[in-house]
């Protein structure tokens, strides 16, 4: 009898190997269809889940989905696996693990202790057996706290990246978007720019400018220019005021090569940033972005479904004690996530899977104009992620990124979500908002009149 087979719906369903089971068990999405990996019927999809549910978690320790010899990410995952931490769930099947994650036994403390014992493949597998509500409930129990100048991931808090992008990196334009965001209480996770001109000199200029704004107003947050890791290393060598090293990463060695990075380069960059000693309340200096479909886009997915490869990227991230990790879920395009249903599902998967692995997960709640999605759908996803305890989200002025030409959340959206769900910014940043006179007696950030003192303070000498 074949190892991966089940009778369901009056049919015999046979799957050739473990990665086929994983791919067929995934909710429908365009990227897996593009790769020719998706289940060819809804019945076949559920049959794959039945097979997956009965597999022992240990199957992922004995069977590498990407060969150990060929891939440094697999080696990182296998060599770094903590068997002692894994012990409490080592006897379970994937299906039993899903039920246990939802049980009252799986508390925040228990899940935090378990994280080093889980591999990305185990986490991807169990997520395929979870509904959206399960992904929210389990993620909400996970706490991953990180720190640099602010502390992120604490209960009752929602962080935000302020993203003041400009199509020509104009300093006044960037300052305007930054100051506008600060007036909404945005930027406690990071003030981070995607540079339009991506070279070391431009990067140093932007780093200096952001640091100038931060120090002028004594803001307890960190700044970042989202440039290639090699540019950041050179910027450090030139003495630039660099807080965080950014890099896009993926879940296979070959896909990371497509980004021009390796694990050793990431380690080198982390050491360089740590040598600056710029953190005040913590030493987490790395910022990673990921996204389902990036490995397929680089033709480096090794026949894995895009969600499983994505979770392997979190396996990369956690090796470098990141301050921030976010999926750019709706950015990669409709050939990977076609519509809002797929984007929302993927956003919840990415967040939950990252958190289970102990990664400080944030999400860029976003979409492009050729995806079947709009701002109403982003309202849904941000609210779900807020209830799921997401570490941070990204916000741009009016939800319109004028440099990357896509839509994320607006400053208004994040402010409203915080007030609606009673979530506050990072504690150090919240205190700063208080010192700036921006919080009312209930701790909320009420609208300010044009001549109010914080506006005069920030905008009066703003640029």
């Amino acid at each position: 009898m074949p190892r991966y087979a089940v009778n369901a719906g009056g049919e015999r369903h046979v799957f050739s190997d473990l990665k086929t089971v994983m791919a067929c068990a995934s909710p429908r999405r365009s990227g897996d269809e593009l790769a020719g990996l998706a289940a060819d019927s809804e019945l076949h999809r559920v049959a794959a889940r039945m097979v997956l549910a009965d597999l022992p978690l240990t199957v992922f320790l004995s069977e590498a989905l990407v060969p150990y010899e060929e891939d440094e990410v697999t080696r990182l995952i296998v060599d770094g696996h903590d068997r002692v931490a894994f012990a409490p769930v080592s006897h379970m099947t994937v299906g039993q693990f899903r039920d246990w994650l939802l049980s009252y036994a799986a508390t925040s403390e228990v899940l935090a202790a378990l994280a080093p014992g889980l591999t990305p493949e185990m986490v991807a597998a169990v997520s395929k057996l979870m509904r959206n509500a399960d992904l929210i409930a389990v993620a909400a129990k996970c706490r991953v706290v990180t720190a640099f100048r602010s502390t992120l991931g604490l209960p009752g808090r929602l962080g935000s990246r302020l993203q003041p992008n400009h199509p020509t990196d104009d300093p006044l334009g960037i300052a305007a978007s930054t100051l506008d965001g600060l007036l909404f209480g945005i930027g406690d996770a990071v003030i981070g720019i995607n540079p339009a001109t991506d070279n070391v000199s431009a990067c140093v200029t932007l780093l200096s400018m952001l640091d100038e704004v931060r120090t002028r107003f004594d803001i307890p947050t960190q700044t970042c220019v989202l440039t290639h890791v090699t540019n950041s290393i050179q910027a450090i060598e030139r003495g630039a005021p660099l807080d965080l090293v950014f890099q896009s990463i993926a879940g296979t060695e070959a896909a990371n090569r497509g980004f021009g990075v390796s694990l050793s380069m990431l380690a080198e960059a982390q050491a360089a940033a740590l040598s600056l000693g710029r953190g005040t309340v913590g030493t987490d200096v790395m910022y990673f972005e990921t996204g389902q479909g990036s490995a397929l886009s680089a033709d480096a997915h090794h026949g894995l479904d895009q969600q499983t490869v994505e979770v392997r990227a979190y396996g990369v991230a956690r090796a470098f004690s990141p301050l921030l990790v976010n999926t750019v879920v709706g950015f990669i395009g409709p050939e990977y996530l076609y519509d809002s249903k797929q984007i929302i599902r993927a956003g919840l998967e990415d967040h939950c899977c990252g958190k289970l692995l102990g990664v400080p997960m944030g999400v860029d709640v976003c979409y492009t104009n050729h995806a079947e999605a709009d701002q109403d759908d982003m309202d849904v996803l941000m609210t779900l992620l807020g209830t799921a305890g997401v570490n941070f989200v990204i916000a741009v002025p009016g939800a319109d990124d004028v440099m990357l030409n896509y839509q994320s959340l607006s400053y208004h959206d994040v402010l409203g979500l915080r007030h609606l769900l009673d979530l506050r910014p990072a504690p150090e940043f919240e205190s700063w908002l208080g010192r700036m006179g921006m919080l009312d007696s209930t701790g909320r950030l009420a609208p300010l009149s044009a001549g109010a003192q914080p506006i005069a303070h920030l905008l009066g000498q703003g640029a």
Binding site: S30, E33, L34, P164, H166, P167, D170, L172, G173, I174, A175, A176, S177, L179, D180, N194, A196, T197, L226, S248, E289, G291, G293, S297, A298, V328, F331, I332, G333, P334, E335, Y336, Y338, N369, H370, D374, Q375, V396, P397, G398, A399, D400, V402, M403, L404, N405, Y406, Q407, S410, H412, L415, G416, H419, P447, S449, A450, G451, I455, L459, G462
Partner: protein, 261 residues
């Protein structure tokens, strides 16, 4: 004054420096209605550009040159096109059969890409400006390609026997420009060319490059490409070329490197 519009605009001195939607005011915590409707209008234009159809007859009428050839990609409709970029890069069978080798210096392909509005507005004047600048070149009849991505120029150029192919294509719309046209130039086109083997001129629209400026850049690149016998990163490395091309905002590429950010 909690919720009413701000009488004095504290962002006044910043507004000329950015198109970003700054200083919008607040209705409670939410965006006030006026900027909300402005946003929805821009998004509607972008969506219509993605899902619109090019009126090819009108583009043909606006062209100065003679006959045109029409081809279709292997993606039968827009839904398939959006899900299957691989099909948008290939010709369907009947289109492939209709192209024959003419030993041309340059083939010009107009592809709908992700913005019908861009093709409708800017393809004909850009082609006219290119033809004006290359009177001595042997240029193939203009090819109109439907449901097409950049790389469809490879099989077209190959079958036409063209030394160079320039694909004029509608770029993915942003909220600030739904009708932006791009041009991708490839030397010795054939199926399987990588994106790193092309040069790109981006951002041709009312608020970006004019058709004349774009044609100047393309003609410079095309002459260099014939001289160097290549296109792509090795052509871009030339300082003057790099400067002039980068100025054209290379970020709005169509189906290359969707994750680059």
């Amino acid at each position: 004054m909690a919720d009413s519009p701000i009488p004095l605009d504290p962002f006044a001195r910043f507004r000329a420096a950015t198109r970003a939607r700054i200083g919008l005011g607040r209705s409670g915590d939410a965006m006030p209605l006026r900027p909300l409707l402005d946003f929805q209008l821009a998004h509607a234009q972008a969506r219509d550009a993605v899902h619109g159809r090019v009126d090819w007859d009108r583009v043909a009428e606006a062209l100065p040159s003679g006959p045109v050839l029409s081809v279709h990609s292997a993606a039968p409709d827009r839904q398939t096109y959006l899900r299957r970029p691989d099909l948008g890069r290939r010709l369907d069978e009947s289109s492939a059969a209709g192209l024959s080798d003419g030993g041309w210096d340059l083939a010009l392909v107009v592809a709908d890409g992700l913005s019908a509005a861009a093709v409708q507005s800017w393809a004909a004047p850009t082609i006219a400006a290119i033809l004006d600048r290359l009177p001595d070149w042997r240029i193939a009849p203009v090819v109109f390609a439907s449901q097409a991505r950049v790389a469809i120029g490879d099989p077209i150029g190959e079958k036409l026997g063209a030394q160079l192919v320039a694909v004029l294509i509608g770029e993915r719309p942003g909220l600030s420009a739904a009708d932006s046209l791009g041009i991708y130039l490839t030397y010795a086109p054939r199926s399987g060319r990588r994106d790193s083997e092309r040069n790109c001129i981006s951002n041709i629209h009312g608020g970006g490059l004019s058709p004349q400026q774009a044609a100047d850049k393309l003609v410079w690149l095309a002459r260099q490409a014939r001289h160097l016998r290549l296109t792509g990163v090795d052509l871009k490395e030339d300082a003057r070329s790099a400067e002039s091309i980068e100025a054209g905002a290379p970020r709005l590429d169509l189906d290359a490197e969707p994750f680059a950010r």
